[in-house]
């Protein structure tokens, strides 16, 4: 079958994607959160595999990662929690994390597990394009997994073209030069960047992440792009209101 991400990108609407840290607030909240997100109309989910040293993340995701690890989350535990997820959930699911836990699990074994579960894509910000292409692309393809690459306002046009050529599904467009959760709202710099990318006519749709916190920023981000990802703002909402409050958050976005 075709990858769920491909099907989703065909839909004639702006996509809302949510990131959360698996194993947070409580170890076994993972499945419930995924199911509630789908029920409330979320289009795609990034399931965060927590890491001890999340270099590209701000305080919110650092804290949720630390709490999840303290709760006992591991790679094996996450796969176990997700083993029946496709019985109840049909939107695209992407695993997002850092490369070292994947490397320790074994890249091939990790991809195989993802395939068995019905994961559609992987985002590993610290697995660079050249290393991926040289060593891991064949494994990802074998298991039908889409590897998602990031671009930022500092990424050169030439590099964006390279990343577009290597991508298959969507490009994760980081909205500003920052770690996650540190800036909110978009200024002229972002608007110009969004327009610059839109004019490049890339073959892959772009999903904007970092700095999206509410309906206003969601609409600004998706004016030119196919969709947007909310992470830190959603996690803050869970921290403050508990996992029963997923629908409150999503309703405020659209």
């Amino acid at each position: 079958m075709t990858n769920r991400i491909h099907q989703k990108m065909q839909e004639d609407k702006k996509l809302l994607s949510i990131y959360f840290t698996a194993g947070y607030p409580a170890l076994n909240d993972t499945v419930q959160i995924i199911q509630d997100l789908e029920k409330n109309g979320v289009d795609m989910i990034e399931i965060g595999l927590p890491f001890s040293d999340p270099l590209a993340d701000g305080p919110t995701i650092q804290d949720s990662s630390r709490a999840a690890l303290k709760n006992g989350m591991t790679t094996e535990k996450l796969f176990e929690q997700l083993k029946d997820i496709r019985k109840t959930v049909s939107i695209p699911l992407v695993v997002m994390g850092y490369f070292n836990p994947m490397l320790q699990y074994g890249v091939a074994e990790f991809c195989k597990k993802c395939h068995e579960i019905g994961i559609d894509g992987i985002i590993m910000p610290d697995l660079p394009l050249d290393v991926y292409q040289a060593s891991y692309q064949a494994i990802f393809k074998k298991y039908g997994l889409i590897n998602v690459f990031l671009i930022t306002p500092q990424t050169s046009d030439e590099r964006i073209q390279q990343i577009d050529a290597a991508s298959d599904g969507f490009i994760y467009m980081v909205s500003s030069a920052s770690v996650t959760g540190s800036k909110s709202g978009f200024g002229n710099t972002q608007t110009e960047y969004f327009e610059r990318i839109a004019k490049m006519n890339l073959k892959n749709p772009q999903i904007v992440g970092f700095g999206i916190i509410d309906a206003e920023t969601f609409h600004a981000a998706t004016k030119n792009a196919k969709g947007a990802i909310i992470g830190s703002a959603f996690i803050k909402h869970l921290t403050a209101n508990g996992i029963g409050a997923v629908s409150d958050f999503i309703k405020k976005i659209r």
Partner: protein, 393 residues
């Protein structure tokens, strides 16, 4: 075969495992660092500053009483006599000149013991650049004199509050700062770690140590190559510089001493070669201490500068290939060795450096062996720790 290849690999170790946010910065540095470093004007300015500002060459001193005690010929490479009190300044002088040529105006750094922070704050004052140093909250408490020095030099010291609140976490915070400030900022990494080209660049700036040892030993012993070079290793910058010109000289034994903390099996250690596995930390593939699940472990050492869960990729390769012998010294061994050096030679070493001197607890040398030990830093910053430990007050 012991040097970095074009992509920054030492055998299987090294490379640049960085998020895309850092790609433009790292790529700029990678494509320019060698060209800039070996320009005549750069070399001239670098060596002039090393001579007139740092006070190089640092002496190679024959330690007569220590030699007698341990039954071999021991020479000390006196990096402790450099301006700012350690080898760290060799690299910060090089990198600040690099940053200037790259057009950067803001400098960030991480520090453990505070020696690299002080060396960075110093060169920033020298060049009139803004300086922000990230330091673990625990290290701020145990290295108070260096925090005060950085502040006096005009640097801002920002506490790293996450994780174990030591060197690893300070490095995370510095990397995050660089992600947030990609255009005007240069990150002066203090150790032979991080994504390519950092390990190679730092090693080349520190290689002045072994360059000098060669001609100094020739003057004193009539030969350039000692039988052994010994250095302590956290991330491994003083070791990398001490070994550099001997890597391809097979008759020179290379010895690394890591921090065993309270003992390798104690659960409170920083002995990466014994406890580590291959993985990714701070942008490079190397040996690091981690759980089976790939979470990086909190290390422990009494010395803030060695309290790091990885080693530089060059050292991981030297270990794996068998080119270097790795040992580890406990807190107690390092402190005792530091006291011994103080009382036999009148030199109070940094606690980091004390680990290198604990080699004599682990290895017996022959009477004719010429052993050069990198005396990487002085112990002024550690007086409180020494006083508490030996109840000297």
């Amino acid at each position: 075969m012991y040097h970095a290849d074009e992509k920054g690999y030492y055998g299987e170790f090294g490379g640049a495992f960085i998020p895309e946010m850092l790609y433009p910065n790292i790529e700029e540095l990678r494509s320019k660092y060698l060209k800039i470093m070996y320009e005549d004007s750069f070399q001239k300015e670098f060596h002039q500053l090393l001579k007139d500002y740092v006070g190089r060459p640092s002496p190679l001193y024959f330690a007569k009483r220590l030699s007698k005690k341990h039954g071999c010929k021991i020479y000390l490479k006196r990096e402790d006599l450099n301006h700012t009190g350690a080898h760290k300044v060799n690299n910060t002088i090089g990198q600040i000149l690099m940053a200037k040529r790259l057009g950067k105006t803001r400098i960030i750094a991480e520090t453990g013991a505070g020696q690299h922070g002080v060396a960075t704050a110093t060169v920033c004052a020298l060049m009139g650049m803004e300086c922000i140093v990230y330091m673990g909250e625990i290290d701020i408490a145990r290295q108070a004199p260096n925090v005060a020095r950085m502040k006096m030099l005009g640097a801002e010291v920002r506490p790293a509050l996450s994780g174990s609140r030591t060197l690893k976490d300070a490095t995370n915070e510095a990397i995050r700062d660089w992600i947030n400030n990609p255009v005007d900022t240069h990150y002066i990494i203090g150790s032979a770690i991080g994504p390519h080209p950092y390990p190679d660049m730092v090693t080349r700036f520190q290689s002045i140590i072994s360059e000098e040892i060669k001609w100094q030993l020739k003057e004193k012993e009539g030969r350039e190559n000692p039988d052994y070079v010994v250095a302590c290793i956290g991330g491994g910058s003083n070791a990398a510089g001490t070994y550099y010109h001997f890597l391809d000289e097979p008759e020179v034994g290379i010895i690394a001493v890591e921090a065993a903390g309270k003992g390798i099996e104690s659960g409170e250690s920083a002995a990466t070669s014994a406890l580590g596995k291959v993985g990714i930390i701070h942008g490079c593939k190397t040996m690091l201490m981690q759980t089976g699940d790939g979470q990086i472990t909190e290390p422990y050492s009494i010395s803030a500068g060695l309290d790091y869960p990885g080693v530089g990729p060059m050292h991981a390769h030297l270990h794996k290939s068998g080119r270097a012998e790795f040992y580890s010294a406990t807190d107690d061994e390092a402190m005792t060795a530091g006291l011994e050096l103080s009382q036999l030679e009148g030199i109070i070493p940094a606690i980091e450096t004390g680990h290198a001197f604990a080699i004599f607890d682990h290895k017996k040398f022959k009477p004719e062996d010429v052993v050069v030990i990198s005396l990487s830093g002085r112990g002024d910053k550690d007086l409180n720790t020494y006083i508490d430990y030996f109840k000297l007050a």
